[in-house]
Amino acid sequence: MNYPIWDIPFLGAGLVVAIIAIIHVLISHLAIGGGAFLFIAEVWSNRTEHGDRIRDWLHKYATWFLVYTTVFGAVTGVGIWFSIQLANAEATSLLIHQFVFAWAIEWVAFLGELTVLYFYFYGWKKNSRSLQVFLAGAYFVISWMSLFIINGILSFMLTPGDWTILNKDIFLGFFNPGFFPSLLIRTLAMFMIGGLFGIIVAARVTDDSDFKERIISFSSKWIIPAAVAAPFLLLWYWSTLPENTIEIFKSGVTGVMGGKLEALTRYFWLAIIAAGLILAGIAFILIRPRAASLTGAIALFLIAQFGVLGAEFFREMARKPYVIYGVLYSNGLWQSDADNPEYMKKPYLDQAKWHPDVEELSSEHGEWVFRLQCAACHTRDGYRAISTRTKDWTGEFGFKWLETLDQQGVMPKFQGSAEDRAALSAYLVSLHGDTITAGDILAMVAEAETGDTTSVTDSSAVMDTSVVTGEMEESK
């Protein structure tokens, strides 16, 4: 364990990342799709007799767009960096070192798009029509370039393809199997969100129903590319996912005490249903523009936010138990170390750096093993609470179960000695009042192994026949 773990109570570091990312992703998609919208609307306004009226409305769009995307979009974008450092410094370091110049190019694009947007907005009354069209077009192209770059890094985390820590081939990593389908899906989603934002701004027009109908109709058409192409792109994207992800999607994951955890599947369907509702809602508005209301448009936007939530959680959970698939586990354990049985059996706190001196087998021993090995993903009693997941555990059961931790499909191997496992198990059961010590657990296990029939034997049997093989009936 190279870095400390940000052991934030109740929320957990992962949820902090998720909250910021979910807000950011919707805005960043709007920031690009809205750019395309401004460009096409500028061209449209130059070719129609109501051009001035459209430009007046477009100025309102641009004002909201500017404030929303710069205040919330830019800051939450930096916020993702802040939060991923705290949640997983090891992975962030790897991504930064591998893709530093990709990120630097993205920064150039970001600086460019921001500056062009300011020129477009602040020069509104004085810039020539052709200059405004150029600025809107340049804004879209530059901002889409930033998507192109960040998409390479994001998709790399789930499908690194032929990239390895040894070849360090940036192009193999960047143009990974998930790159193009992901890029195209995001681009279509951006057009849809840009149009949806147009409907919201248009719904505020109250003085001219014919004009309102025209711009709502114009805005609604931005769903058409997504409606036509999304299913095919989704299939393409699906084909690039790791086998383990597909398996978890199909059959869920066997829980700690049995039962099926199907979070991945639920988040997938949340994203799909949200997308479907938005498509249906905007299609309805397209057919009957007069039916559009501000409340309805905002409701669709909120549904889009839920869709992003589903998609982002799916993307994050699809990587489980890795943060960079096949390379680095979510808790900072490298795959190369996990493949080394000798390394994995060494006393954990001898390997981990960030802990004070603690007495072996003490409660503090278990707490520090939990903090450094589990708290990257689990809180004690909040998000992904470990206390509820282990509420039916006995100390001996936990001791045995931890040995087979990785066989669930969504957890890494346990790293450490038998003493570490006993200390952790004792700590976990202490969270719901059990006072068994790590020393007691080791003694009971030793006793069980000598042939006596105890509860340890029972829990071992549960491990061998049910949890490990993943065949336990759905008891939860």
């Binding site: 190279n2 870095y3 400390p4 773990i5 940000w6 052991d7 934030i8 109570p9 404030v67 710069t70 205040v71 919330f72 830019a74 800051v75 939450t76 930096v78 916020g79 960096w81 802040f82 939060s83 450092q85 705290l86 410094a89 962030t92 370091s93 790897l94 930064i96 070192h97 530093v100 110049f101 990709a102 990120w103 630097a104 190019i105 920064w107 150039v108 694009a109 970001f110 600086l111 460019g112 921001l114 500056t115 062009v116 300011y118 020129f119 602040y122 020069g123 009354k125 004085k126 810039n127 200059l131 600025l135 340049a138 360090k168 940036i170 750096k353 960030w354 802990h355 004070p356 903090r371």
Partner: protein
């Protein structure tokens, strides 16, 4: 265990190992990019904080002669903060490449306060936009909005100083983490914390002053000498606070210097020329601002801006040299292997040149339009009065 041996061993024990991917280019290249962009980031930050303070002062004075400068400063705040954030990205990227193991560790140690930077920055930014778009609708409440945004900005600045100085202090880490694994603490053991923060505040007045000098010169050239001279005088008077704060800060930094800083002065040949360069920059800055009042020549704002850039760049390089020296017992840049990514670096350089070229081209096209709009607005206000 002997306690002194234990304490000595702590920093070595918790210092993370550098990333296995190594550096993508020799560190000096990244350092140069970081020096340039961090200087620009700090200048933007100084401007935004200074502009907010002077705007608040204008509101408190309640005199109509401040209306023009207050409008200018209030309009500039969202733009200023926008570039603070944007120009802060490259140094934040590069610090992770060069000093990632220190920076990540310290960020996690103060994690709860550190992540609060994000919502607080959103509030500060939203406050500046609220002022810009609603200042005439709710004039009585503007000072509250500006004050809050200013306090938020100062909080963010303080957090950055706190985190960065903590990243240079590995001896503090394990105790802090053992006591506060949730990151609910800050490093107040750093003796140079307050002088560093004062140093930054001094720059705030200087940068806001430079912006007012530019505005004053433009108005003088348009023939509105009264408004132009007022803007320049306001800037000059505000600037006088900068040397005072910098002087206080310099004394504080000198008093709190560590042994490694003394060693740096003795061993690193660049320190004295760097200080001389900074003093030359300060002279240019002062001359440009003080002599500008009532003048139309662009020379004065250009000289003062150049002087400020030199002062800031000198301080940024000096700061990095201090960090390198302070971290020497634990980490040396030259010990990290280089895994070259030259093709990517060249792509970045090309993108930077093209992007800068595009922005310059568009500036030439658009700035005259924006300036002309400002002039019309000013003339319209004059006509109304």
């Amino acid at each position: 265990m002997n306690i002194s041996v234990f304490l000595t061993a702590i920093p070595v024990m918790v210092m993370p190992t550098p990333d296995p991917l190594g550096f993508p280019v020799p560190p000096i290249i990244l350092q140069i990019v970081a020096y340039l962009t961090l200087s620009l980031h700090l200048l933007a930050m100084n401007f935004t904080v200074g502009a907010a303070i002077l705007l608040l002062y204008s509101k408190v004075r309640k005199k109509t002669e401040y209306d023009g400068t207050a409008f200018f400063l209030g309009s500039s705040l969202p733009l200023g903060l926008s570039y603070v954030i944007t120009l802060g990205i490259p140094p934040l990227l590069i610090v992770q490449v060069l000093y990632g193991q220190m920076f990540y560790s310290s960020s996690i140690l103060v994690g709860t306060f550190w992540i609060l930077v994000i919502p607080i920055l959103v509030f500060a930014y939203a406050g500046f936009y609220l002022h810009k778009f609603k200042r005439f609708d709710y004039p009585k409440h503007q000072w509250i909005i500006i004050s809050l945004s200013l306090i938020f900005m100062l909080y963010v600045g303080f957090l950055f100083v706190n985190n960065i100085t903590l990243s240079w202090s590995p001896s503090e880490w394990l105790t802090m983490y053992s006591n506060h694994p949730g990151g609910g603490t800050l490093n107040f053991n750093e003796r140079s914390l307050h002088p560093r923060f004062t140093l930054f505040l001094g720059g705030a007045f200087a940068m806001a002053a430079i912006a007012l000098i530019w505005r004053g010169t433009l108005f003088n050239r348009w023939g509105y000498e009264k408004e132009g001279a007022f803007s320049q005088r306001f800037g000059r008077n505000a600037f006088l606070l900068s040397p005072i704060l910098w002087g206080v800060s310099a004394v504080g930094i000198y008093m709190t210097r560590t042994e490694s800083i003394n060693e740096m002065f003795a061993e690193v040949s660049a320190t004295i020329p760097l200080m001389v360069t900074g003093i030359v920059g300060f002279v240019l800055l002062t001359a440009g601002i003080v002599l500008s009042v009532g003048r139309k020549s662009w020379l004065y704002p250009i000289v003062s801006s150049l002087g400020m850039l030199i002062v800031m760049a000198s301080a940024v390089v000096f700061r990095d040299l201090s960090r390198i020296k302070t971290l020497e017992p634990y980490f040396r840049l030259e010990n990290v292997p280089i895994e070259p990514q030259w093709e990517m670096f060249i792509m970045f350089a090309v993108a930077l040149v093209l992007g800068t070229g595009l922005m310059i081209f568009l500036s030439i096209k658009v700035f005259p339009n924006i300036a002309s709009l400002s002039r019309e607005r000013f003339e319209s206000k004059l006509a109304k009065n």
